[in-house]
Amino acid sequence: MLPMFSFREKLLHRLSILVIVVVLAIYLIPLYWLIATSLKTWQDIDSVPPKWVFRPVADNYQRLFFTVVTDQRGTRVVGTSEYPWRFLNSIIIGLVSTVLAVGLGTLCAYATSRFRVAAKDDLLFFILSTRMLPPMVVVIPIFLMYRALGLRDTHLGLIILYTTFNVSFAVWLMKGYLDEIPKDYEEAAMLDRLSRFRAFVKVVLPQALPAIATTAVFCLISAWNEFAFSLILTESQAATAPRTITSKLGSAGIDWGQIAAGAVLFLLPVALFTFIVRHHLLRGVTFGTIKR
């Protein structure tokens, strides 16, 4: 027999579906519009009222990757553009700084979680306090320091900077999680003849994977999206994708098609990474809320 639902229950069920649809629309329409714009011709982008139905073209993507010239001989590709290199810069800087921030953050979190460290609480507060300054406040001193050290417009420069900003976040997130892992596991491993470090690697790290995944996603997003420092500290060599996308806001008008194409490609890696670690992520974000 089918379960019987009262009118009230049916109404609630339909209402909840309506709410989900509305929320999804709010999240997805901008994304749809971004993708649609990236596939439109300039005329379609510019049309009033906006066009919902159009013939998709790959022009914007082509011009994103290649330098395209149009003259009396027609439209042709004369070379690659800077965007792929900037994109690669973003990947290198984002990944390396994430690995460093999560690695250093996990070690620091483990140390403060397990050992007696002098003035531990003050140190942890100090680590957190580095996040309290808005980046723009420190941009001038950092600019001067980087110029003196020759770190301007280098991958290393941005990697150091993003790692520094993310490590405090990583320490706090990882410490909260490591505190929850009973130290009996490492002690058991040490009595099973492992050194402290090997016990950490073999027993603690595998259990901390959800937290590592969560921390890594947040660090990657923060490094990936960073704009202000990239704009001021880089010119060409180490320039990242976000800064390049905005460079399309030129004096000759705003090339919405290319901006949209750049932004769509820019979304993919983080979305992919989040998708890969999604199983760990759910556990990592909800840790502490479930009594283990």
Partner: protein
Amino acid sequence: MSPEPTGGTMAELVVENIVKTFGDVYALKGVSFSVKNGEFVVLLGPSGSGKTTALRCVAGLEKPDRGHIFIDGQRVNEMPPADRDIAFVFQNYALYPHLTVFENLAFPLRAVGTGKAEVNERVQNVARILHIEHLLHRRPHHLSSGEMQRVALGRAIIRRPKLFLMDEPLSNLDALLRAEMRAELKRLQKDLGTTTLFVTHDQLEAMSMGDRIAVLDQGQIQQIGSPDEIYHRPANLFVASFVGSPAMNLVPCRLAEENGQRRLIVEDSNWSLPLPPEVARAAQEGRAPSRLVLGIRAEDLSVSLSASDGAVAAEVYVLEPLGAETIVNVLIGPHVLKVRTRPTFTASIRQTVYMTWNQEGVRVFDAQTEKALG
């Protein structure tokens, strides 16, 4: 469980005068004890007595501030836990949650690079001894607490260590399983012959399992002895009241002359007893303290509904039928005494009964120092 065919190695543990502080708190105030080759020693004490700290010092998980720990004559204070060749069973078992039962059992072997074939063979062997062959491919969170307990034991015995340390390994089991595992664990220890130090707050566990018991309270050893000694000749009031269920009856008493004879008079009551030899000796030498405490086990008292020679009249306070026996609570003056009787004994509350006692079972303590006389 069948005996482990290969047998374990053995070792002697000597703990000498160890002191351990945490900040201003003294967890251990000079604790000494020893565990002989193949012996099963239980550290018994209430929570906060320092027993787990003592165990962790032996394991190397804590470093004592003072004192010495010797394993097989070698001082190990500075030796890291990994080098002490000790297996530790934790209260919560500490099974590695990301590894299967097989991998958990193999962990200590793989840690020292044991070959694959030998790992397999020894894991299978231990799994057979502990009846956990069917669990080898499960993860710990799919096990019941009894099964986890067996795996934890398996991980300890697989290495054939010099010394087993066990920190309340039975306390997370339900009562029925605990009673079963008590016997199995004791038999396993005897079969393996591995020197074992076992920590518990459960006096029944200590009595039933230990070759010897070290009773610990407030960071100090109160008494070390066989279960029989601890039970029948407690060294002080703490041991008398902590060990045994029901605990030893303890009532205040004093020495007095009665009909020209020195006797023990229980305060505010009509109960007087002849002096036990050690008290008589102390009285003779003039070193008997003025305030005393009389201790007597429930089984050294008996009650009857009819008066008899030398019996003392008492009032029934309440009856506790326990199936195999009945504990009769009687009032002697203001004092409630527990008397162990046969299960068929019946009496109503406030009824007068007549109590006799086994003079051999009488213990006398100094009320001031709380130590046993003699």
